[in-house]
């Protein structure tokens, strides 16, 4: 028996970033612990990271390349797998052009640099990510409004934190780790929580605003109305750095508190109180979450929240919402070679004319991809490569996603397991977990850090995603490097460090400077914060933000509401799972064995639903079942359901993908999406409830 060696690395069980010490014995990882020296997590870890050994060594994990033959999946060599993919791609390029190949990923997993480089050098503008409704949509809207994504400056002690539709302690999203927020909270910051559910943070908050799901934009108008009416804005900032203040003020006047209360269900006194605290207790920051993006108000809601940060003088100040200075490492955008996509190919981006903001950040909304596959219009997509994504579970209108991916002529996937999406593929390429990769991690985030994720072990024939793109790229004749580590040296070059040196160092942090706008202005066409957007105006859209009702709600569809009398707030997160991941991990599934729908006891009583019952949830697009959890922490008019569910233990190739998958119910029609970003509404729709007719005992 060998000794235990300890390797310092960085997790990526969600978006990653937490510091890990991996314990290795006889070539196998036997344990992971938090790295106390990590500037991100300070030694703490979450359940997902702690369960990594059960994922990495899972008996169902696919550890060699496969192709689908006449008798199902069969093992092949990496050479055959890569040649098959490239052979197919070359055929498609010859016959249809590179735009007929779609390259896709799921949530940000630290390989967008490599994925985009492959796609751009291939010549396809059709990159499908989660970015149309998650994070990148926020980046995009802030790019055109204030030039960069402002991030809560937790290390510099905000005195007021507005937790707007986010539960960072469970989800640790993007730049934010719950641990960093909690330190700031414990140092005495005031806390305002905006959430339809009374969760842990609502309990801890000084003020909790329980809004109607999907009305965040209207609530932001309410805050702005108070701030303007009571003269609580930063006059110097507004005078010098806001473009279109008078027009913006006029728009805000359209949202008096009585109207906002009617829309949001939040009492106007409470809105006034919260707005006054946010505007006067300084510095203050807003920690926003994806529900603000996952409706048709995506872009405008982000612009309104940016407006709040700006007019209160909380933008790029210590303890406010700061623009963090990145470390001296080549940015993802440069590595990705976006400039090498020719203008001719750029113009061919599916939905690019309609969703101009999505095009600006180099992605497409899934609807246009599914349409191109299913209808061949405006041109067909013939082949695809999907990495770390399970769209038949996680994208709106899951049935359409399923039909499209079933129909596409050729599909290759990069993943750990045969997910319901992977089962639809022709070639399976086995990816390495974060224990199996060398990477300059977190480089895409805007928190000012780059972190050394170093390879701890190799498992089977799995390759880290970056290597797969590199090897595919080389076979396409693209410009890449000999090894993954050579590419990391290129990324790190501006820092003067090699990968080997960076690995020893552990992390790099940018040297933070605040108030950068005082010297350079904001990186927008006018150099100011464009609350009146010259970009949107140029594109023919309303240059001022507004609030719109979701197309399927009690206000927009009163007739439909009679048949579907509840607002379904879909997409509830859990601390043990990350989107559609981890359902096969025994430790995690033991904690959360079943998909949960939260129902108010009064609502449940109307339908004879008891705690723990399986419940049918039905929308105009279909029905699924989840288990009822009765809770008075939500409004009786609202039902809250978990997302991401499939059942790895179901051994047929569907793996129960349409049983409890909440996206069977969601809509992806163009009118339900954000008009410039193509953000899908994954959050707010109408539903009805009934107890499952099957025997409850049997379902248990």
């Amino acid at each position: 028996m060998g000794d235990i060696t300890k390797v310092r690395t960085v997790c990526r069980s969600c978006h990653g970033g937490c510091g890990v010490i991996a314990h290795v014995k006889d070539g196998k990882v036997i344990k992971v612990e938090g790295d106390p020296e990590s500037p991100i997590s300070h030694g703490t870890l979450c359940s997902k990271c702690l369960a990594i050994t059960q994922l990495a060594y899972h008996p169902d994990r696919i550890t060699y390349p496969m192709k689908k033959g006449n008798n199902g999946w069969e093992r092949i060599s990496w050479d055959e797998a890569l040649d098959t993919v490239i052979g197919k791609f070359k055929e498609v390029i010859k016959e249809y052009g590179p735009e007929s190949i779609v390259i896709g990923q799921g949530t940000g997993r630290d390989y967008e640099s490599h994925l985009y480089r492959f796609a751009n050098l291939l010549g396809t503008p059709n990159v499908l990510t989660a970015g149309h409704m998650c994070y990148v949509s926020r980046v995009a809207a802030t790019l055109i409004t204030c030039g960069n994504l402002p991030i809560c400056d937790y290390p510099a002690d905000p005195k007021c934190i507005v937790m707007w539709a986010c539960n960072p302690q469970w989800t640790n999203p993007d730049e934010y780790k719950g641990e960093g927020f909690w330190r700031a909270y414990k140092r005495g910051s005031k806390l305002i929580v905006i959430d339809p559910r009374k969760g842990f943070l609502a309990k801890k908050a000084d003020l909790w605003l329980q809004l109607r799901p999907g009305t965040d934009g209207a609530l932001a108008f309410g805050f702005l109305h108070v701030i303007i009416e009571e003269g609580l804005y930063d006059e110097t900032f507004v005078r010098n750095y806001i473009h279109g203040w008078e027009e913006f003020k006029k728009r805000v006047q359209e949202y008096p508190l009585e109207r906002v209360e009617g829309i949001t269900w939040v009492k106007k006194e409470l809105i006034r109180n919260a707005a006054k605290i946010y505007a006067t207790v300084k510095p203050a920051c807003i920690n926003w979450g994806v529900p603000t993006e996952q409706t048709l108000n995506c872009t405008d809601c982000t612009r309104l929240l940016t407006g709040l940060m700006a007019v209160t003088g909380n933008l790029d100040v210590p303890g406010g919402n700061a623009f963090f200075v990145p470390p001296p490492v080549r940015p993802v955008s440069q590595f990705s070679r976006h400039k090498d996509l020719s203008p001719e190919q750029w113009k061919k981006r599916l939905g690019g004319e309609q969703y101009k903001l999505a095009a600006r950040v180099a992605l497409i909304t899934p609807k246009v991809a599914w349409d191109a596959i299913l209808t061949g219009k405006p041109y067909p997509l013939k082949a695809g490569l999907l990495c770390g994504t399970n769209p038949v579970i996680t994208r709106a209108n899951a049935r359409e996603a399923y039909e499209a991916l079933k129909k596409i002529n050729f599909l290759a996937v990069i993943d750990f397991f045969l997910t319901p999406t992977a089962e639809l593929a022709d070639v399976f390429l086995p990816a390495g977990t974060w224990l199996e990769q060398n990477h300059v991690a977190d480089n895409w985030k805007r928190h000012g850090y780059a972190l050394a994720r170093q390879k701890v072990v190799e498992i089977g024939e799995c390759w880290q995603d970056h290597k797969i793109f590199l090897e595919l790229g080389k076979r396409m004749g693209q410009e890449w490097w000999d090894t993954v580590e050579d590419a990391l040296d290129y990324l790190l070059e501006p820092s003067g460090l090699t990968w080997e040196q960076f690995k020893e160092k552990g992390f790099l942090k940018g040297e933070q400077v605040y108030h950068k706008y005082m010297d350079k202005g904001f990186s927008t066409p006018t150099g100011k914060v464009e609350l009146y957007s010259t970009v949107l105006e140029k594109w023919g859209h309303d240059p001022l933000p507004k609030y719109r009702e979701v197309p399927e709600g009690p206000v927009s569809k009163p007739e439909l509401f009679k048949e579907y009398p509840y607002i379904l707030n879909a997409g509830l997160r859990t601390p043990t799972f990350f989107h559609s991941a981890n359902r096969m991990i025994p430790w995690l599934r033991e904690i959360r064995p079943d998909p949960i729908v939260e129902i108010h006891p009064k609502t449940a009583a109307k339908h004879g639903i008891e705690d723990g019952d399986w419940v049918t949830i039905e929308s105009p697009r279909g029905h699924v079942k989840e288990r009822a959890k009765l809770t008075d922490s939500i409004d009786p008019r609202v039902v809250v359901a978990e997302h991401g569910w499939w059942f790895p233990e179901v051994k047929d190739p569907g793996h129960g993908w349409d049983t409890a998958n909440i996206n069977i119910l969601t809509d992806n029609s163009h009118e339900s999406m954000d008009p410039v970003m193509g953000a899908t509404n994954l959050r707010v729709l109408l539903c009805k409830l009934s107890p499952c007719v099957e025997d409850q005992e049997e379902l248990r």
Binding site: C46, A51, G178, W182, K198
Partner: protein
């Protein structure tokens, strides 16, 4: 020898379950025994764990004297002596005693006694992102908890209750 204790400051438990997985990993348990377990009654989260009671009911109930309390005050079970009768499970007022079906023995929190010997903190406490798991010298811990309880009724002072080393 100084006595050691472990206590969760419930008010700050946010229900992430990291302690559970850290414990399983440390002790090599699969599905089944949960030496620490967090019950969700959102917005409250209730950790169920061994309090290493001074007059441990599990110890009193054990017919084979498999359960003992060491000089640090840690209540331990000798699995060799355990006959799998589950009397201790019934006796524990917290529901902290667990049963390992694979080996047919009762199992319990050992306060990571081996880690303590190596000057490492218990696995659950190390992972906890809100630092709501306090451990250490029993006397000091009792004082801390008394202070915490009085402060937790006051939302402003509540912020002062923390295991985080704030510079």
């Amino acid at each position: 020898m100084k006595k050691v204790s472990l206590i969760f400051f419930k008010n700050d438990c946010m229900g992430c379950h990291a302690c559970e997985i850290a414990c399983k990993q440390e002790h090599g348990f699969g599905v089944g025994p949960r030496l620490v377990r967090v019950i969700e009654r959102a917005p409250d989260f209730i950790p169920i764990y061994c309090h290493h009671c001074t007059k441990a009911p599990c110890k009193a109930a054990c017919p084979t004297k498999a359960i003992s309390r060491n000089e640090q005050g840690i209540v331990l079970i000798d699995e060799e002596l355990c006959i799998g009768c589950k009397e201790c499970m019934e006796a524990c007022p917290f529901g902290a005693m667990q049963f390992d079906d694979d080996r047919d023995v009762a199992v319990k929190c050992d306060l990571c006694v081996e880690r303590l010997e190596n000057n490492e903190e218990p696995a659950c406490s190390k992972a906890c992102a809100t630092r709501c798991i306090f451990w250490g010298d029993t006397k000091q811990l009792s004082e801390k908890i008394v202070a915490a309880r009085s402060k937790s009724a006051n939302p402003t002072l509540d912020r002062e209750v923390t295991g985080i080393e704030i510079a």
